[in-house]
C-alpha cells in the first residue's frame, strides 16, 4: 500500500522500507533547534549526559528570539547560557541578536529547511517547515538535548489527514485565513497527534510565505506536522540558500489518509479567531463593532516580507487610529533589511506605527507590547489563549496582516475590503 509524505520521510530516516501509523520508530534527525527559553533546560539536561557528551556540531542550531534583546536580568542570563553553550562546544549555527530573528524564519532563510528532511525544534511552531515539504515537529528541551548528543529520536508515526482547498482565493484572503478556516472547522484538537497534508489549486497558487503561515498553525489544530508537497516555488527559493543536497518526497497515489477534508477557496473570507481559542473563528466582516487598543504585525506566522507588503499597501497614505498602538516586528534581520529597502518601514513609521527589530516578545505576552487589563488586540500571531499577550482579562483576536492593518486604521476589527 502507498505511503503519505510523513510515512515516507519517517521510514527513510528510520532506515526502514515502510512504517505504519501508531508504530514507534527511532529516526535520524537532520537538524535540532532550540531557542533562548527552551535552550536553557536543554543545556542543563545536556550536562547530565556526562563530560564526554558533545553536541553534534552540524546538526545543532541555537537561535535566541523569545526574550532577546534581553528583557530583564533573568532573560539576560538565559540568553547568556545559550551563548556560552555555543562557545564551549564551538557550535557554528548560533545566531546572535542583530544577525538572526524569529527562529523558524531564520531556519528557513538560512537553508536548514528543505524537502524530505526530518527536523525537530524545541518550539511548537517548528511544524512551519512542512511548508517546504519537510517533516518537522516541536519537541521538548530534554529530547532536544538528546538529539544534540545522539542525532536521533523516537517518533510515533502519525496518522495523516488530507486537506484539499480548490479554487481561487478572494482579495485579501491569505494562507492565514485558510488555516484559521480549517481550525474553525476541525477544532483545536481536530488533528491531535496527526500529520496534516495540504493539497489543491488554492494551495499551489499560494506564495511560500502564505504556505508557511498554514504549516505554522498545524499545531493549533493539535497536529504533529503540517506538510505541503514541494514544488518549483520551493526549489526556486532554495537556490543559493539551502545547505547541502535534498530530495523531495511526495505521497503515493494510493496513500492512506484517515480522513479527507475539502474546501472551496471562494467560501473562505478574511477570517478572525476570537478569544480564547484559534478555533473560535468568524468572518472579519461579521464581527460588528469591536474596538481595539493594539494592532500587532509580526511573528513566525505572519512576519515575512510578503506580510509587511500587504499591510504597508493598506497603510500607505493613511494613519493609525488615534486610539490604537500599532506594532510592527519583522520576523528576521533579512526581512527587516528588505522592508527598509522597499520603503515599507518608512510607510509604517509615517502612518504612526512603532517598528522594532525582530523578537517574539509580544506574541507570547513577554515584552515589547504586553496588554493591560481589559485591553484588546488584533494580531497576526497564532494564539489567543487566556492572557496570551498579557493580562488575564485582555483579549487577542487573530487575523491576517491585511485585517490587522485595516483594523489599525479604523480602530475596530475591519475587513480590509471595507476600506476600498
Amino acid at each position: 500500500m502507498g505511503a503519505t509524505i510523513s510515512e515516507k520521510i519517517l521510514a527513510k530516516k528510520a532506515g526502514k522500507r515502510e512504517v505504519s501509523p501508531g508504530e514507534i520508530v527511532e529516526a535520524e534527525v537532520d537538524y535540532v533547534m532550540v531557542n533562548d527559553i527552551t535552550g536553557l533546560p536543554a543545556f542543563e539536561v545536556f550536562k547530565r549526559f556526562g563530560e564526554r557528551a558533545k553536541p553534534i556540531k552540524e546538526k545543532t542550531v541555537l537561535i535566541p528570539d523569545h526574550y532577546v534583546p534581553n528583557k530583564d536580568i533573568p532573560s539576560a542570563e538565559q540568553a547568556k547560557a545559550m551563548r556560552e553553550f555555543a562557545r564551549k562546544y564551538n557550535l557554528p549555527h548560533y545566531f546572535e541578536v542583530g544577525r538572526g530573528g524569529v527562529c523558524h524564519q531564520v531556519m528557513i532563510e538560512q537553508g536548514f529547511v528543505a524537502p524530505g528532511r526530518l527536523i525537530v525544534g524545541a518550539d511548537s511552531h517548528t511544524c512551519s517547515y512542512g511548508a517546504l515539504g519537510a517533516f518537522a515537529t516541536g519537541v521538548g528541551s530534554t529530547e532536544a538535548a538528546s538529539v544534540m548528543a545522539l542525532g536521533k529520536l523516537w517518533f510515533r508515526v502519525p496518522e495523516s489527514l488530507r486537506f484539499v482547498v480548490e479554487g481561487k482565493l478572494g482579495k485579501y484572503v491569505m494562507g492565514k485565513d485558510i488555516i484559521l478556516h480549517i481550525i474553525g472547522d476541525i477544532g483545536v484538537d481536530g488533528a491531535l497527534y496527526k500529520a496534516m497534508e495540504f493539497y489543491g489549486s488554492a494551495i499551489t497558487s499560494l506564495s511560500l510565505a502564505d504556505r508557511i503561515s498554514i504549516a505554522n498553525m498545524a499545531i493549533e489544530a493539535g497536529g504533529k506536522a503540517g506538510i505541503i508537497p514541494p514544488d518549483e516555488k520551493v526549489f526556486e527559493y532554495l537556490k543559493g540558500r539551502v545547505r547541502g543536497a535534498y530530495e523531495p518526497v511526495y505521497a503515493d497515489d494510493d496513500a492512506s489518509y484517515e480522513e479527507t477534508f475539502t474546501y472551496d477557496a471562494k467560501e473562505i473570507p478574511p477570517t478572525v479567531a476570537k478569544p480564547f481559542l484559534p478555533s473560535n473563528t468568524s468572518p472579519a466582516s461579521e464581527l460588528g463593532d469591536i474596538t481595539i487598543d493594539q494592532a500587532y504585525l509580526g511573528s513566525c506566522t505572519n512576519g515575512r516580507i510578503e506580510d509587511l507588503r500587504v499591510a504597508a499597501k493598506i497603510l500607505r497614505g493613511r494613519k493609525v487610529h488615534p486610539n490604537v498602538r500599532m506594532i510592527v516586528v519583522p520576523a528576521t534581520q533579512e526581512v527587516y533589511q528588505q522592508a527598509i529597502r522597499e520603503g515599507l518601514v518608512e510607510t509604517f513609521v509615517e502612518a504612526g506605527a512603532f517598528v522594532s527589530g525582530p523578537t517574539c516578545g509580544a506574541c507570547l505576552g513577554g515584552y515589547m507590547g504586553v496588554l493591560g487589563k481589559g485591553e484588546r488586540a488584533i494580531s497576526s500571531t497564532n494564539r489567543n489563549f487566556i492572557g496570551r499577550m498579557g493580562h488575564k482579562e485582555s483579549e487577542v483576536y487573530l487575523a491576517n496582516p491585511a485585517v490587522v492593518a485595516a483594523s489599525a486604521v479604523t480602530g475596530r476589527i475591519t475587513d480590509p475590503r471595507e476600506l476600498e
Binding site: I24, T38, R52, D72, P74, A145, V188, G366, F385
Partner: protein
C-alpha cells in the same frame, strides 16, 4: 516514575483544552527550575492552585490537556507543584512527550471526578478508583517502548546508555 506502586491524591479538576499558557504563563519563562515555576502554575485561571496544592495531588482534565507551546516548563511546573499524575481524556502531543521524557506520569482515561475528590491510581493493574464517589475505572497502559523508556529512567538515562554504546 513510580509505575510499580499505588498513588493516592486529591483532585484538581480542569476542563478541555488547558493550554500551556494557563499551566505556566510565558512571563515566568525566565527560569527552568520546577519549584520556581510551580509558584505561578495556573496563576491566571486558578490562582489558588499554587498556594493550596499538596504533594501527591492529581490533575483530572478533559480533552487536549497541555495544548500550545512546546515548553517543558509546563510539566516541570506541575512536577514542582507535587502533582503525582495527570489524568485526561486526551493530551496534546508535545506535552505528552515532554512529560514521559522527564518522568511525569500521564494517564489517558475518562474519569468522573470533581475538585477535591480523592483518587487512587494503581499503575500496575491499570485501575483508577474514585474513593470519594466509590467508582472504579480502568485504563490502557502506555505502549511498551514508552514504558521501557520510563522504567529505565527516562530519556536522560537512555541517552547516556546510547552514548556509552557508541564509545565502546
Amino acid at each position: 516514575m513510580p509505575l510499580y506502586k499505588k498513588i493516592k491524591g486529591r483532585v484538581w479538576r480542569f476542563g478541555a483544552n488547558v493550554d500551556t499558557d494557563q499551566i505556566i504563563p510565558a512571563e515566568y519563562l525566565i527560569t527552568a527550575d520546577p519549584k520556581e515555576l510551580a509558584k505561578h502554575a495556573f496563576e491566571k485561571v486558578k490562582p489558588e492552585f499554587a498556594q493550596q496544592v499538596k504533594a501527591g495531588d492529581i490533575i483530572v482534565a478533559d480533552e487536549n490537556f497541555g495544548c500550545g507551546s512546546s515548553r517543558e516548563h509546563a510539566p516541570r511546573a506541575l512536577m514542582g507543584a507535587g502533582i503525582s499524575v495527570v489524568i485526561a481524556k486526551s493530551f496534546a502531543r508535545i506535552f505528552f512527550r515532554n512529560s514521559i521524557n522527564i518522568g511525569l506520569p500521564l494517564i489517558e482515561a475518562s474519569v468522573d471526578a470533581e475538585e477535591g475528590d480523592e483518587l487512587e491510581v494503581d499503575f500496575s493493574q491499570g485501575i483508577i478508583k474514585n474513593l470519594t464517589k466509590n467508582r472504579e475505572y480502568t485504563f490502557k497502559p502506555l505502549p511498551e517502548f514508552l514504558l521501557n523508556l520510563l522504567e529505565s529512567g527516562g530519556l536522560v538515562e537512555y541517552t547516556k546508555r546510547e552514548l556509552e554504546k557508541a564509545q565502546t
